[in-house]
Amino acid sequence: MTSRTPRYKSGDPVRVDDRDVAGHCRAPWYLRGHTGVVVEELGNFRDPERLAYLRPGLPRQILYKVRFKQTDLWPDYVGPARDHLEADITENWLEPVVPARRKANAS
């Protein structure tokens, strides 16, 4: 068990890393490099990328439910902008997104 505190909290914008991995991993290709928002922290679980090779899966990874706008994922998405996709992503695949600084004269 890890007592690490989660790096992200609900509402935080996060980007899925787009690194390449040889072998088993659970971060789908179609989400890599995309930005979503953490909607829930789901607890910590053994790391599937280590478990797959008969390792103990440690350190455990904190898992987050991340929500993506469908229109962000697919440029030609046919549904309305209110549609979303959620996936469960481990912390080692997420990086923080610093919100772009708003221009002082932006309306």
């Binding site: 659970r26 789901l42 469908q70 549609d83 959620e86 996936a87 469960d88």
Partner: protein, 228 residues
Amino acid sequence: MTHTHPHTHGHGDHGHDHDHDHNEPHPPQRDHDAGPMGVYEVMEEAVRLLLLEKGVLTDAEIATQIDLMDSRSPALGAKVVARAWADAAFKQRLLADCRTALAELQIDIGQIAEFKVVENTPQTHNVIVCTLCSCYPKLLLGIPPAWYKSLGYRSRTVVDPRGVLAEFGVKIPKSQEVRVHDSTADLRYIVLPMRPKGTERMSEPQLAALVSRDAMIGTALPSVPRKT
């Protein structure tokens, strides 16, 4: 329900002597006898026999697990949905902590994965997919349908969920969000459909009969009772 397994009774006098094949308590049988074994069947058998030979598993444990899987069906999930419809406090517990709420109904979801219930509302329709493999809440819904494991469903549901739902006969208005859940990790998802109108006087078993397997995946809506 009885858990007696008649096949385990024949070897009592012989103990667990694994050197004698004829004493194995429950030799598994092939599901099909048509044609030569495919590569995955050969692989499965080889791994299974190795696990047995090395004492990692026993025939009886494998048979017990098969029986457990076979004992689960969408009727179990439907019973949970009906309880949630009938009991608002149970519904809140189910949404907050699925494992504990299911234990109230004597449903054990095992240790392989956690379960999570997502609720359909007038604002949101949920649909479940596993793009990476075919994760499915077997201990609540039984064995998944073949289409759930198909490449078509797994790839298209994330790209064009409304199109896939329409092929299932489910038309979601543009005023309602479609929310796809890709079960990429350690959680298994089940959809709690909206309770149909006109069911206010129904008992829980009557309500459960309205809930199909597909309604709990999100690819169908509960059937509406006919006017009598």
